[in-house]
Amino acid sequence: MQLSRPRLSSLLPLALVLGGAALVPGSAAGADRWGRPEFVLELRGNYYYELSTRVYEPMVSLDVSLDNPAGRTTVGVDYTLDAVTSASLNFGVMNQDQLVSEYRNEEAVSVSHDTGLFAAGASYRFSKECVYNYLGTGMHSCDYVAGSGSGFVELRLFGDTMLLRAVGSHGHDDVFKRFGGRVVDGKGRLDTWYGGLYWTQILDRTTIFRASYDLMFQDGFQANAYRRVNVAGINLDERHPLMRWRHTGAFALKHRIPELGATLEVGYRYYHDDWKITGQDVDLKTYVDLTPWLELRVGYRFYAQNAAFFWKPSYGGIEDAEDPLFTGDPKLAPFQTHTLGARLELDLDVLHHVPLLRVLSNGWLDFHYDYMFQNNSYGNAHMIGFSLWFKIDP
């Protein structure tokens, strides 16, 4: 099966910034001459566990920045592996006694340029989901191939107390269906256009605020390639609308209390789309300095949504035979989640006087655990992660 190549439109923002970075005029914030490169490396491991799905997700990210007469230019590369093991029929498993592992490899490259008052950047991402050696048969197949290009511009105004950021992207996905270890069907394509406006404002010496609006339009195959729905006694492939307009408004506020060595954060998000789903979430976090180099974060998030206009608990009645759309997707049902979590962050400056480990001293190490209560068919979930971030400034 021939997989599609990245579309030129997805690569356009990257090409524009690569070309434009050389043309941006210098500013007061730019260095007078070329500096030495600075490297930032982040290694991260994530684990997600719920009733029928486990995900191991290692990530690595490397950014290289260089001060130059026109400002500061940064080039970054990211790699993410999603190793998903599932017994779900919705995962292309032929019966639920079998556990199948699928691997999603995602690579991304980005470039950005910052003059102090103005910044712009672009990135390109490519990912592919494949099964290797399906149940020991040696068969290999890929059922999801996606590429996307993104660009952003940023303006810092009023003495750097206001940051305005506009983001845009286009993604193109190709969807296939696997039966056993082989791809048997091209299910279609999905194009996604996204635009976002972000406004960050310093309110006083200890308070910062952010408001945003996102618009997304999706056109193409948006169902699960494997999920089947019992419609009036007949099992049929799930059928969702082909188009979706999605709106999201959000705000967040952070307030520092120096006397307590603590920071409070509150966030709210409102979502609505033309599938008639409305979702809202409230996100609360508290950061506490346990010592000068150890920080504890505790958080709680509540999320609730209603159902898509075509969702029903069952389509088994004879009157449901006329339904043009039907779904078995738990994400389109009404449900609520409550997530409780904690995170510890160690400032690696404590290693400054430790021989050999001094190279890590300009960085941090963190560990987090979250537990999510979900009243839908996914069941409750555990999320664990750790990361090591450090800067090398030769």
Binding site: R44, Y48, M59, S61, T80, E106, R125, A146, L157, G159, T161, M162, L164, V167, Y194, G196, W199, Q201, L203, R205, T206, I208, S212, Y213, D214, L215, F217, D219, Q222, N224, A225, L242, M243, W245, R246, H247, T248, G249, A250, K254, R256, R269, Y271, D273, D274, W275, I277, G279, Y287, Q305, A308, P324, K331, L332, T337, D366, H368, A381, M383, S387
Partner: protein, 89 residues
Amino acid sequence: MRTRSGGRWRRPALRAVLAAAAAALALAAAAAAAPGCATVKPWERSQLARRCMTFGANRLELKFAAHVRETREGATGGAGGYGGGCGCN
């Protein structure tokens, strides 16, 4: 069911674009009214410079959280960019 054929897609598209324009205008108007807040000088920002006061400081952690939400919730957005790229329906 909305399809690409005919003119039935135009009305929801127009509504979506008008809603987007209204939201963007509201955001721009609020931002334009905000300079009155801008009294914090650079040397008064030691508390604001802390990592916990920065939105998006933990980029890969946020990427993981956004990925979990996109695969488990009907809503999306608010995370600073487009996730997607995964057949997680």
